[in-house]
């Protein structure tokens, strides 16, 4: 696997020369090469991830166990789910700082619903309404960005600041503790020994890989981010595409908020989703999606999140304090972005 990828890397280095003398007709070998190159950006991250797995298998005690596997994956679920939405927003050339706030709003609303409305109806509403509320935050972001042409980082800063405040007002700033197995099944349930939230995460990754690759929206997303002026002149509804991206991003953050409170059996508007925007952006960047827009590697974001998580685990398992781990995390991000720039 690693060897094959290295070969592909070599091919890529030779590209610029070949590009200047295009051949008369496309041949199948060249076509395959182009396809391989398509995947190379993600493969590089796969190599890093595999290297870290091998390192841990060799040097970390008790690494090879279902327990470790589950711990690492469950810790990464919310980051990946938020990261998927972030990837879509980043693909449009934007960024969403308000995802943590959207998580807090959704996390604040859900307990109020299932604790006050008894029966399955309450549980169902507790899943649906908070996600819709979060999606409304996304619509707000999207309208600021498209209708008022506010820069995304500023537009989403509004809810980054206000959103958590709203969540605190809704809950009176108090911590809501609960024990509701039916609701918490989303985080604590297991299917065949694998936590349901992990399966949900993989399902969402698969869904959005498909959305980006095969749907009209996915294509329009990449076109809008790749060259917005061209997209506009070609009749692509760029404003609507962006609005949808921000809405999906916030809705996914809302879902992540539900998982987050279920794991903790409590909801504290001060804490839910705190700082997740940076973890998500880091996962997107490490995953190979350029922050300039026009690319959306959902699979890359998953791998990026796993790399960051595994790194943190490795450092902790070897007795390196969390504070130092943060520095290493930052270094990995810098390295990942540097490698990306080099490959252009």
């Amino acid at each position: 696997m690693a060897l094959k990828s290295l070969k592909t890397l070599g091919n890529q280095a030779a590209q610029p020369l070949a590009a200047q003398t295009p051949l008369a007709a496309p041949d199948s070998a060249a076509q395959q090469q182009a396809k391989k190159r398509h995947r190379v950006t993600i493969q590089r991250e796969v190599i890093v991830l595999l290297a870290m797995l091998v390192f841990n298998l060799l040097f970390t005690q008790h690494f090879w166990s279902l327990q470790t596997f589950n711990v690492n994956l469950t810790q990464v679920v919310t980051i990946v789910i938020v990261g998927i939405g972030m990837t879509l927003v980043v693909a449009t050339g934007g960024i969403d700082l308000s995802v943590g706030a959207s998580m807090a709003i959704s996390g604040a609303l859900a307990p109020m619903l299932f604790m006050n409305i008894p029966g399955p109806g309450g549980i169902a509403l507790a899943f649906v309404l908070p996600v819709i509320a979060a999606a409304a935050c996304g619509v707000f972001n999207g309208l600021l960005v498209t209708k008022l042409s506010v820069q995304p980082i500023v537009a989403t800063l509004v809810l980054f600041i206000a959103g958590r405040g709203i969540a605190q007002v809704v809950t009176d700033g108090s911590l809501q503790a609960f024990d509701n197995p039916a609701f918490q099944w989303i985080a604590l349930g297991k299917v065949g020994g694998v936590p349901f939230q992990v399966l949900l995460m993989f399902a969402l990754v698969a869904l959005f890989v498909w959305v980006v690759r095969k749907t009209l929206f996915g294509q329009y997303l990449l076109i809008t981010g790749g060259n917005e002026k061209a997209a506009y002149l070609c009749g692509v509804p760029t404003a609507r595409v962006k609005l949808i991206a921000y809405t999906i991003c916030a809705a996914l953050a809302g879902l992540a908020g539900l998982i987050s409170i279920s794991v903790n059996s409590s909801s504290d508007a001060n804490v839910v989703g705190l700082g997740i925007e940076l973890d998500a952006i880091a996962a997107v960047a490490v995953g190979g999606t350029a922050l300039t827009g026009g690319k959306a590697y959902i699979g890359g974001t998953l791998i990026g999140a796993l790399i960051i998580q595994l790194l943190r685990f490795t450092l902790l398992a070897h007795g390196i304090p969390d504070a130092a781990a943060l520095v290493v995390k930052a270094a990995i991000i810098v390295a990942a972005v540097y490698v990306q720039r080099r490959s252009r």
Partner: protein, 542 residues
């Protein structure tokens, strides 16, 4: 007129050793030679015209001189020393200043700050603002310009901005100033003001290289001229020894007869065959570039939209495509008055717009050729929001074959393709949407000669297949090669409409130069064939 290689003819600057001597300059881009044995020799105290069509190599020559490109061969001597600037900064420090059409000033900073940017006089380690303002005002006054130097540059007209740029060059002790199409956005009075400053520079012993497409200006201002064509220097002469028509024919590389006689019968036949009106524009205006443009395009005809750079061609097309809001005027598609709020509306009406700025708003560079090609028609390929990949692939393969697009694979990112092939992909992008009117803005800009011929051939075939085509081109040769008739615009106004036999490079140039009311000796020359007389008259006139 002297061919390259022969000795320089006597001129006001003869006898002095040239300030700048560029010899046998060579450079290629991606294996295509852009300059082959290009020469340029400029003396101190002269205004030197550098002319040629777009793509002739003027800009490349200037970029080599100013260190933006590195030459592959030849020598550049400046003030008697062999030089090889690696960056524009080195050229500036050596005393070569360039003033581009898009002026390199900081719009929100004051005039004074702009003049001394990076070289502010200091006092006690701080910028001495009073000295900055005093010296800036004095400098501009020596140009005969009295303005408030504390006001931001953007509050002044383009002409004054040009002069601020000139003042900046002068204050940095430039020995040579290069003016690249500096006058294209100025009105007559402003041009005169600018010229008086340029003459002052010349009289101070500085050299000025002046690039312009406006022939009258060249004769009004320049002492000597270098004509370039296809990457070579084809003539170096004093301005007085070369009359306008000679200049134009040298520039275009055609004999006078060829310029005058175009294939008018075929055009007339085409116009006679044309179908119903597809689009009509009446009195379009949108501040500041378009003030009054009217034109119509019929099925089965190719209409050329001619005009200088900055005359409002692109803006007119964007208005017709709904890309910019229309202030006044009406648009009709298939005889029905329409309001186009966005390109989406225009596309729905069967319009297509190939942008002039291929890199800026044409290609999506990181995406594959396939995704770029199907960008417009993608909507029709989707069923319940999911793209039908098989149909998409079929369309891509069909257009790659029919337009002869050269590439390794449709999965290849479009940025890796040559300019000509990128342009074909963009053309295919619109054709795949099956439009009834093609608006082609400079379809042959920045692509190699072979691809130009291909694009022209494709456009002719589309016209013959019944499409309505409106195309613009700075290069009249390319315009007349494809168009059946031409609409000439100048400063955002339609000034002439030249049908079939009336249309020739010279008549278009005439309309561009003089407008509809001006003298039209060139047109007369074409019609009466008394070319000699016309030349005589032109020489006296100039």
């Amino acid at each position: 007129m002297t061919q390259s290689g022969s000795p320089t003819p006597p001129s006001p600057s003869a006898g002095r050793s040239p300030l700048l001597e560029m010899q046998d300059i060579q450079i290629s881009f991606g294996g295509v030679p852009a300059l082959r044995n290009a020469n340029l020799s400029v003396a101190a105290g002269e205004v030197h015209a550098l002319i040629g069509q777009n793509g002739a190599g003027k800009s490349t020559m200037i970029k080599i001189l100013t260190g933006a490109y590195r030459r592959a061969g030849g020598s550049v001597r400046f003030e008697g020393r062999e030089i090889d600037f690696r960056t524009p900064k080195e050229a500036r420090e050596a005393g070569i200043s360039t003033i581009y059409q898009e002026i390199n000033l900081v719009p929100f900073r004051s005039v004074a700050e702009n003049i001394f940017l990076g070289r502010e006089p200091r006092r006690y380690g701080l910028i001495d603002w009073r000295a900055v303002q005093r010296r800036a005002a004095a400098l501009l006054e020596s140009f005969g310009l009295q303005i408030d130097v504390k006001k931001p540059v953007r509050s002044y007209s383009t002409a004054i901005q040009q002069m601020v740029a000139l003042a900046r060059a002068v204050s940095s002790d430039a020995k040579m100033v290069i003016m690249d199409e500096s006058t294209s956005s100025l009105d007559e009075r402003e041009v005169e003001l600018l010229f008086s400053v340029v003459r002052k520079l010349r009289d101070d012993g500085r050299a000025v290289i002046f690039v312009s497409h406006r022939l009258d200006e060249l004769y009004a201002l320049c002492d000597r001229v270098t004509v370039m064509r296809d990457g070579q220097t084809v003539a170096q002469s004093s301005m007085a020894e070369m009359d306008k028509l000679q200049l134009v024919t040298t520039m275009l590389g055609r004999t006078l007869a060829a310029v005058v006689q175009d294939d008018s019968t075929a055009r007339e036949a085409n116009l006679a065959r044309r179908g119903a009106q597809v689009m009509a524009a009446h009195n379009l205006s949108a501040h500041p570039k378009v003030s009054d443009v009217s034109l119509e395009v019929h099925a089965g005809e190719a209409v050329g939209l001619a005009g200088l750079l900055g005359s409002g061609r692109t803006e007119t097309m964007r208005l017709m495509f709904g890309a910019d809001p229309l202030e006044h005027g009406t648009l009709a598609v298939d005889g029905e008055t329409v309001t186009l709020k966005s390109p989406q509306d225009a596309i729905a009406r069967g319009l297509a717009y190939l942008t002039e700025d291929r890199k800026g708003d044409g290609i999506v560079p990181e995406l594959s050729v396939r995704d770029n090609l199907t960008l417009v028609c993608l909507r029709t390929l989707a069923k319940h929001g999911v793209v039908d990949v098989k149909k998409q692939q079929a369309i891509v393969e069909r257009f790659i074959a029919s337009l002869g697009i050269k590439l390794r694979s449709p999965d290849q990112p479009i940025r890796e393709l040559s300019g000509g092939n990128q342009q074909k992909v963009l053309l295919a992008r619109w054709l795949a949407a099956e439009p009834s009117l093609l608006l082609l803005d400079e379809p042959t800009r920045g692509i190699d000669v072979g691809a130009k011929a291909d694009v022209a051939k494709i456009v002719r075939e589309l016209r013959d297949a019944g499409l309505a085509v409106l195309l613009s081109a700075s290069e009249l040769e390319e315009l007349t090669a494809v168009a059946d008739r031409a609409v000439v615009i100048r400063d955002g106004r339609t000034v002439a409409e030249l049908n079939g036999a009336q249309m020739s490079e010279s008549s278009i140039m005439d309309a561009i130069a003089y407008g509809s009311d001006g003298p039209s000796q060139l047109v007369e020359a074409a019609h009466t064939a008394h070319i000699e007389d016309a030349l005589e008259g032109d020489r006296h006139g100039a």
